[in-house]
Structures are given as structure tokens and as C-alpha cells.
Symmetry: C2
Subunit: 623 residues, 2 copies
């Protein structure tokens, strides 16, 4: 939760330092009088590096600033990484015993000719870990039951609505196609009958499950260390069987995705990676089409019948002015759900993992489609091949990036400032809620506090960080705008996190490595641009002296990975054993643990008010 606030602080602070270091030295010294009444592009440009003469000694100030800024950001990153990893340990020490700490998810349970999968799991773990093994819960194919239960749920809510309503006209209706055909019947009776049928059906299906086991199980141990042993030590002789991974929190499990075997998950992974790359690159096509809207003439030649409409001044203004950015925004809103869908295909078994993976995907998508597509002035598709000639990258970036400073300053204002403001209003959620209430049955709505959309918010915050880091020495005037953005974002997100969103899962600080990596990437990009800029400005010495900087930064990054990342992947034995010892009266907890993991679709259902005993589950859960 606190990650966002921390990243805000880091960037804001870094921005202040960059501003202090650069603005007075470079620009006060060079006698540029700032005329705020004529705050046009020209005066903006006068602040940028393009204004400095070729080979000027003043460029050495920029050079020094690049080094100082990098050192400072790395220092901050180190402090933050350490702080968050310590917080993570403290959080672990202070937490109550939780089911996920004692449980591992075992996948790739091998088929045996004599035993069922559940029996093999039981045998394997009770043979090899007799003193540590507690229980296991098999995962089942529940697609059919999911369908039935969601139907029953709908019927039930419809029923509740009908019962609560007073109007008789609504109690009677036709039940044929779309409620238009067939004789009029008492809807309450009709739905009650239907619900009962569905419930019976669900129970029959639940009892038939034993053959439909998925080769995956949640295996619980008596101590945290036991779970860690099963987690970290390769279990089976075949490394593709008895694969263990950290179990997510019980509420966090994403049940539909358990069916995939090792090889199909591996193939799925490969396909998803390809799909992401293709989506990221092909997203430029709608961007280009939308940009075509600004040329009305072309639109007229395409659709001649529009000519009359387009000649009206107001409409043409709307189309050229607002429509492109609106359509683009709509497209952008569609991307996070797509990324989440892709991540869920990949075989992640927890909402938190899916969210994290989608966050990563969105980050690269945003950097590519906002930063690179705009910095390389839209023609990025034709310039994709610059990445096949690494030697040329600094030069191309150095030519393209500084020219877009004005655009990005505008972007910070229009997109950054307004997005935080609209975040406060949550206008999207309001609109979509409103639409749903109009077009769908009013009674079907259940209100839930939304969880924080990490996968769409973190990437956009990091994008502004990237802008700040790359432009701080090219055109420092972007920094005050960014600072305003970060202050706004700090206030607004603090409010939203405290009062609006309810967390679905504990992140436990696991989003921080993404922030760290993205910042390191921004630094390296900045170094590449500065190598190119110093070359262009005929200061080859400064250019070659900048080359070691990205290497040092990468070394710093690899050190951080060794020093801090392990704590984010798992907890050390020291902590686990200490926690295990400090727990008392564990037998209560063990009882709870046995039933902690349960597919929500296999729980007995209680829609109709019948009390004839058939509510009891027919399937006895193996415990």
C-alpha cells in the first residue's frame, strides 16, 4: 500500500534536487530573463539544452548534473529498498499466524495407476514429511458448477428483488424469450422452482467431482519451516513433477486457472509473452488512425457523405480537437483489462500475482506507447529497426527526445493533473456503474468496495518518473509541473487508499521491485540520451566519460538484487523459526488451517430456505 506514496516521495525529492542543481546554475548564469507574461513555447525552449551552444563549457555542468543526479537517485533507491525490506520483515514478525504461511501449492502431481491423485498427495507427503505434514486440499475442475452457481445466484437475487417489491405488475410476467412470450405466471413461484432445480443440480455435480481432480493441491504443514522446506527444496526426481510454489492467501486464490499441466503452462507463458509484444507494438495502429482524425480533409475523401456535417465549424472543432484524445483514452482504458486477462491465462493462481504481472506488462506497454511513440514522433513503427542497431540508439534518441519536451510538459498537465483529479471523482467507475444500471437488470447489483487498480495506476505514476528522469537535464522546466503532479497525487492517493479502496490482498511490499527496476531503466535511458547529446553538441570527451555511468548503474542494480530481492521472494529461516516458536496453542489454528483453502464453488449452497437437510454437502472434503 505504501509503495505508491514512497515512490511519490522519491521522485518528488529527486525532482527537487534536480531542479535546485540545474536551474540556478545553468540558466541564471546565462542571463535569460524569464518573462512569465510571454510564457510560450519560445520561452520554454530557451530553458532547454537545445539552447546551449555546441561545444560550450556550460555542458560540463550538465555532465556533472547527470553524475550527481544518478548518484543521488541510486542512494535513494538503496535507502528505500532497505527500508521496505525491513518493513516487510517487521510485517512478517507482527502478523498473526496465517494459512498461507503454512501452506504450499503443489502442482504437477503425477498420475498413478493404483491411487487417485488425492491419495498420491497424501502418500507422498505423509511418507516424506511424517512429522510436518498436516493436511491437503485437492483442486477440482469446477467449470460446470461455476456456471450453475452463477445462474442460481442470479435467480436468487432476482427473487429477492421480486419479493421486496410491492407492485403486483412486476410479480407476474412472461418467462419465454426475453420475457416477451409465453403465458403470464407468478414469477416468484416460477423462480423458486427454478432455484430449487439449480440447487439440486449443483449438489449432484458436487458429488460427482471425485473423478475430476486437477493435479494440484494445497498442502498444509504444521510449521512455517516445514512449508518452506517443501517450497525451496526440489521435491520429485523429475523437476516437472511435484512442483511447489508459495500458496496465496485463501481469499486471494484465483480458482479457475488450475487445470494447466507443466508443459501447457510453459507453452501458455510463451504465447502470452508473444501476444503482449504484439499487442504493445500493434497498439500504434489505432494511435495512427486516431491521429488521422486531425486531418479532416482525408476523412472527407474517405467518407464523402460526411462532407456536409464536417463543414459545420463546431463539429469539425470537436472532431479535430477532442475526439482523437478521447478515443485514445478509451483505447487506453481497454488495455489494463486485456493485460489482466493475458496474465490470468499464464497460469498464475492468485489475484495478487495476476495483478503484479499485469502491472509489469502495462509498464512496458506505457513506456513504449507513450514515451517512445511520442518521442520518436509517431513514426516509431518505421524506426523499430533502430533497436537492431544499438550503436545508433543514443544518437537517434538524442535527436528525437529533446524536441518533444514541450509536448511532454503539456502531457504532464493534461494527462497527469487531470487523471489524478478524475481519480478523485472516479468518474469512469461512476459512468460504468450508471450505464450498467440502465442497461442491465437493476436488481442484479451487489455493491463491493473496489480494490486498488495497481496494474493501471503504478505504470502511469512510473511513466511520469521516467519523464522526470529523462528530461531533468534536457529541459528542467518540466520539473515544477511534475512536482505539482506528485504533490497532487500524494494527497489524492492517500485519501483514496484510506477512504475509498478496500484491499483484496496484502501486497507485502512486493510491488517495490517493479518500481526499482523501472527507475533503473529510466536512469539508463537518461544516460544513453546524454551520451548522444554530448556527442551531438561536439563534446566527445563528456560523451565517452558518460559511458561508464550506465555500467555502474547496472552493477548497482545487480548488487541490490542480491542484497534485497531474496527477502521479497521468501522469508528467511531465522524469521520463520522464531515465529514458529513464538506461536502458542496452535491446535486451534491447525483446525482452521485444514479448512482454510476451499474452492468457493464447492461450498454447500444456501439459497432457498429449505431445511430438509439436503443443504448438507454430499461430498466429504478430504482433510
Amino acid at each position: 500500500m505504501r509503495i505508491i506514496i514512497f515512490s511519490l516521495k522519491v521522485f518528488a525529492f529527486a525532482g527537487v534536487v534536480g531542479l535546485c542543481a540545474l536551474l540556478p546554475i545553468n540558466y541564471m548564469g546565462s542571463q535569460i530573463v524569464i518573462d512569465f507574461s510571454d510564457f510560450t513555447n519560445k520561452s520554454l525552449e530557451s530553458f532547454s539544452i537545445s539552447n546551449v551552444n555546441d561545444g560550450s563549457k556550460k555542458l560540463w555542468i550538465h555532465f556533472g548534473a547527470v553524475y550527481a543526479f544518478t548518484a543521488f537517485v541510486c542512494y535513494l533507491l538503496y535507502l528505500e529498498y532497505r527500508y521496505i525490506s525491513l518493513k516487510r520483515l517487521a510485517y512478517y514478525y507482527s502478523s498473526e499466524p496465517k494459512a498461507d504461511q503454512f501452506t504450499v501449492l503443489v502442482r504437477g502431481v503425477p498420475k498413478s495407476s493404483t491411487d487417485s491423485l488425492s491419495e498420491s498427495v497424501e502418500k507422498f507427503f505423509s511418507e516424506y514429511y511424517p512429522s510436518l505434514y498436516l493436511s491437503h486440499y485437492m483442486v477440482y475442475h469446477t467449470t460446470k458448477i461455476q456456471k450453475l452457481i452463477s445462474d442460481a445466484d442470479k435467480v436468487n437475487r432476482r427473487l429477492a428483488f421480486l419479493r421486496s417489491t410491492q407492485k403486483t405488475s412486476q410479480r407476474f410476467g412472461r418467462v419465454g424469450f426475453l420475457g416477451l412470450f409465453g403465458p403470464k405466471v407468478d414469477l416468484v413461484e416460477y423462480y423458486e422452482k427454478k432455484l430449487e432445480d439449480l440447487e439440486d443440480n449443483v449438489r449432484t455435480q458436487q458429488s460427482l467431482l471425485s473423478g475430476e481432480e486437477v493435479p494440484a493441491a494445497f498442502v498444509s504443514f504444521k510449521s512455517r519451516l516445514g512449508a518452506a522446506v517443501a517450497l525451496h527444496v526440489q521435491q520429485g526426481e523429475n523437476p516437472t513433477e511435484w512442483l511447489t510454489e508459495q500458496a496465496p492467501e485463501p481469499d486471494d486464490v484465483y480458482w479457475p486457472c488450475f487445470s494447466a499441466s507443466f508443459i501447457s503452462r510453459w507453452i501458455g507463458n510463451v504465447i502470452v509473452v508473444f501476444a503482449c509484444v504484439i499487442l504493445t507494438i500493434l497498439f500504434l495502429i489505432p494511435v495512427i488512425i486516431v491521429q488521422g482524425l486531425t486531418n479532416l480533409d482525408q476523412l472527407e475523401t474517405w467518407f464523402p457523405f460526411l462532407e456536409g456535417v464536417l463543414n459545420i465549424a463546431f463539429i469539425s472543432q470537436v472532431i479535430t480537437g477532442y475526439l482523437p484524445s478521447l478515443i485514445l483514452k478509451m483505447f487506453l482504458y481497454m488495455v489494463p483489462p486485456v493485460m489482466i486477462m493475458l496474465s490470468s491465462i499464464q497460469g498464475y493462481v492468485a489475484h495478487s500475482q495476476i495483478e503484479k504481472s499485469a502491472c509489469n506488462k502495462m509498464l512496458w506497454f506505457t513506456i513504449w506507447n507513450i514515451f517512445f511513440a511520442n518521442a520518436l514522433s509517431g513514426s516509431v513503427l518505421y524506426r523499430v529497426n533502430i533497436f537492431l542497431e544499438p550503436k545508433e540508439i543514443p544518437n537517434i534518441l538524442a535527436v528525437a527526445v529533446p524536441g518533444q519536451a514541450t509536448f511532454f510538459i503539456t502531457y504532464v498537465v493534461t494527462s497527469g493533473w487531470t487523471s489524478t483529479a478524475s481519480e478523485l471523482l472516479r468518474s469512469m467507475a461512476l459512468v460504468s456503474n450508471f450505464m450498467r444500471r440502465i442497461f442491465f437488470t437493476k436488481a442484479d447489483e451487489k455493491f463491493e468496495a473496489p480494490s486498488f487498480p495497481y496494474s493501471s495506476e503504478i505504470p502511469s505514476i512510473l511513466l511520469f518518473g521516467l519523464l522526470g528522469i529523462t528530461y531533468f537535464f534536457l529541459s528542467p522546466l518540466i520539473l515544477p509541473f511534475l512536482l505539482v503532479y506528485y504533490c497532487l497525487a500524494y494527497i489524492i492517493y492517500s485519501h483514496q487508499l484510506l477512504n475509498v479502496y478496500s484491499p483484496k490482498f496484502e501486497t507485502g511490499g512486493t510491488f517495490w521491485p517493479i518500481v526499482h527496476n523501472s527507475t533503473i531503466f529510466s536512469l539508463i535511458l537518461m544516460h544513453m540520451i546524454s551520451v548522444g547529446i554530448f556527442g551531438l553538441k561536439k563534446l566527445p570527451l563528456a560523451s565517452s566519460l558518460t559511458v561508464p555511468l550506465p555500467i555502474i548503474t547496472l552493477l548497482f542494480n545487480s548488487y541490490c538484487r542480491k542484497r534485497f530481492l531474496p527477502v521479497f521472494k521468501g522469508y528467511p529461516a531465522e524469521c520463520m523459526i522464531k515465529k514458529d516458536r513464538s506461536d502458542e496453542a496452535m491446535s486451534d489454528f491447525h483446525e482452521k488451517l485444514v479448512t482454510a483453502y476451499q474452492d468457493p464453488f464447492l461450498k454447500p449452497i444456501h439459497f432457498s430456505g429449505r431445511t430438509d437437510g439436503s443443504n448438507a454437502p454430499l461430498l466429504a472434503y478430504e482433510t
Copy 2:
């Protein structure tokens, strides 16, 4: 041990298939009559792909061969990887209980203000693993003692030689500088006195050690699973403290390298990587200088005084003909020891690890300096920047590589065939032994059976594999020569391994991943060349259809890594628990285990025949 033989078989077999697939189809069909009496470069060239017309349909046969060959090699690789990983498990099951299976090496023991390092280790493990922890052995700084003991060893051997010799003239001599000055004394008495002094000194030093602990310890556990838990689960809260790694076999430990701390080892690693890269690239300089020897005119302008000598026909023939390759060979012989030295600086703690890391370094060194330097015709230094333009690589390789077919066929004959032959004679060892006996004291020699020089032999074998894979479709005539080489090598290495070398450590199949990776690299290189060739031969469709092949190969590789590599990194819990249970009467073994790891320089020394009890070690080893 069997890895080499396996790799030979794989490549020989792959070669046969490549030959069968290509030779009849391509060349019998195209009516080239092979005139073996005129077996010159011209007829060699007629076999190569350069002979096929641009855009010819026959190129599709090559295209098919590339796909078929890749599929076949991947299939073989898969079978071999599976076979060796099963062998590895079988070897583990059949092995006697060994000290290294029960022991982990703990590094980065944190300093404590109250306890000594040894006490902290004892406390930490007996607190957290009370039922599993058995004992530990601290590592000490022993540089001084090493020096003293090696001195004592020399004196002792000298003494033994003097005692055994009959000549009185050798019994008396001067003991001053180089045995030239000072009065004549009885050398036996003199050396006996000296030896006693040294021994006392060693004992004093050994007793003073307690302050000189290195923050590293061998920690032994009562079961294999205990050691695995300590190995795989992060121990301390700080991931740079209590670092655990698999302990090497007791005889395999490389004692001098324990002093480095986490951060200094990390820096050392970075430096060594840089040093390797620089060495590999700069090695071209002696190559170029040596190649300068073939131009005698230039030599005469550099060293005018040599003019008279160089005009003698015999000498100029020797210099231009033999000297360059001889000097190059000498330089090449110097490289493996340098690589081993670099690897030992890196902080590896076992001879086997050092050998493996040196093998990897040598592999890239060989591929770069033999394959690329020659394929790109010596001017590789100026062409280094092709690696900065990845798009151009296939084209450049396609132009350069086929032209060097004749050179590499000659190389297989001159270097490959002769190196295996000289391996049989072990002429280098003979010469160096002879030289040492002449220039150094004769008595100082101890004979030890040499261990197999993996780090110099495996890379050269793999280089021939690379040649075979890249040239099989460019110029298939290289294949019979390679086959002869591999048959020779199979016979000779089998003989050498069985009768000449004595293994210093069990490799346990851990060299196989190197062979696998190198083969995958060769395949990808071959694909890149074929993409280029098909482009040059104006068959763009074939060229683009080859592009998916390297991607598929990389995917295959990543699958193999997931499927097999874990078994090479550690043993699965299933095996360890089974082994633990099958062991009986472990108390004897536990006693042995306690003293298994001991720095050879801290063992009590027994050079002089004294029996006054001062042979007992003054330092009581913590157990």
C-alpha cells in the same frame, strides 16, 4: 568422466547424419565427379555451398537439411540430457554416505561483539536446528602457516634426498646465498635443525590462530535433508549474511580462497568478468604480431640487424613456416592456467568449481579467438562493431564464414588430429617435467598422477563440434575429417581416462550443461549463417522461413533448463529422504563427519622423527 565420450558420440553421430543427408542429395545429383587424385583446394571448393547458383531450387535441399539437422540435434540433446540426469540420480542413490552430502558451507558469518565467530555459528545453528545440527569447522587465515609448511616440506624432501644419497661430497656444502658462500657444514644436521625450527614455528602459529577466523564455516548436519534445508532456505534476515552453499568434497576444497567477504567477492567477480573479456579480446594482439612474422620484409625494417640472418633460406623458412604457429600454440598453452587463476580469484572454494568456471571461460575464449578471429579473416578487431549492429550479423557471417572452409578443414587435420596424438604422448607434460628436472633440484619432485585437464580439453572438443555444426551444410567435406578426429579422440581419451589420469574430484555430470549450452549456441550460429546465406543466394523466402528456427531452438533450450537443470544444481528431497532412511548405523559416520573437513595446513605435522609429544596439535579443533 563419461561426458567427453558422450559428447564425442553425439557429435560423431550428428556428423554422420549430416553427411548422409547432404552429400548424396546435393552433390551426386549435380554431376560433380570427384577426382581424388587432384584433391586440391579447387575440388574442395566444388563441394561447398558457394558453388550452388543464386536462387537455385537446390538450395531448398540445404534449407530442409538445416531444419532436419536442428531437429535431430535437439532430439539427441534431449536424450543425452535425460540420460545424464538419470545417471546422476542413480549415482547418488548408489553412493556411500559422503561428507559433502551432509555439509553446507556457510559464508558471511556476521561479527558479534560478545561472541567469537565460531561461537556465533554454534549458537545460530544449535538454536535454529537443534535436532539436525551436528558440528561445524571454522576456516582460518592460514597464509603464514602455508608458507612455513611448504618451506618445511621442501627442507624435509631435501633431507630425505641427502639421507638416501651415498656420496659424501653431497652431504657437505655451503648454506649461504645459493649454496655458494659460508663455511662448509654437515647438511643433514643443518637441515634437521632447520626443520625442527620450522615445525616449532608452525605449531606456535597454529596455536595463535583463534583470533584469525575467517567468517566462513563448514556446518555438518545429521541428515542430508537437514543440509538441504540449510542450503536452500535463506538463513539470515540479511541476505548477505549466513550465505549457504553446497560444500565440496573434503579433498576438493581450495583452502586459500576463504577470506573474501560478500561485497569483496562480488566486486572480485565483476573485475574477473571484465578481465576475461579484455583478455579474450586483447589476445588478438599477439595473434596479429605473430601473423606479422610471415611478412619477413616488415620484420627486416623493424630489426635491421637481423637482415643477414634472415637471408639464409633455411632460417627464413623456419620463421615464416613454423614459428608463427609455434608461438601461437605457446600463447594458447598459457591461457588455461591464466583462466584457472582468474577463476580462483573469483572466490570459488573447490577445485571442481574453479575447473568448471575456467572451462566456461576457455570455451568462449576459444570460440572467439579461433572461430571468429579466423572466420572474419584476422581483421576481427576492426569488425568488433558488427556486434553493435545485430541486423548485419547474418550477412557478414554469411560472407565471411563459407570462405574459410578450406582453412578450417586444414585446422581439423593439423590441430585436431595432432592434438589428440600428442595427448597420447603427453609431450607437453614430458617436456615440462624434463625442464623442471634440469633446472630445479632433482630431489624436490614428488610424482602424482595428473588429473584430467577439463578446462583445456572440453573447450577444444566443443570447438570442433561448433565447426562441424556450422560447416555441415556450407561445405560438408569437413565432416569426414571431423569424424576421423572424433573416432581418434574417442579411442585416445578412453585410454587416457582409464589408464593415465586419476580423478581429483567426481564431476557428477556437472560439465554436461556446458556441453549442452555450447551446442545450442552452435546451432543458433548456424541458423544465423544460413539466414544470411539464403539471403545472399537470392532466396529470401527460405531466409525468412529460417528465422523461426533459432527462436524454436531457444525455446527448446529453456524447456531443457526447466526440465533437467534443477537436478544438476541439487538433489531432490525425495532422493535425500530415501537415502537418509536407507542409511544404517550412522553414528560411526557422524564421528568421521565431525573431522572430515580440516584445513591440511592445520593438521599436526610429522616431519622430524621426534616423539616427545610436541606433535600433538596445540589447537583443539572445535567439533
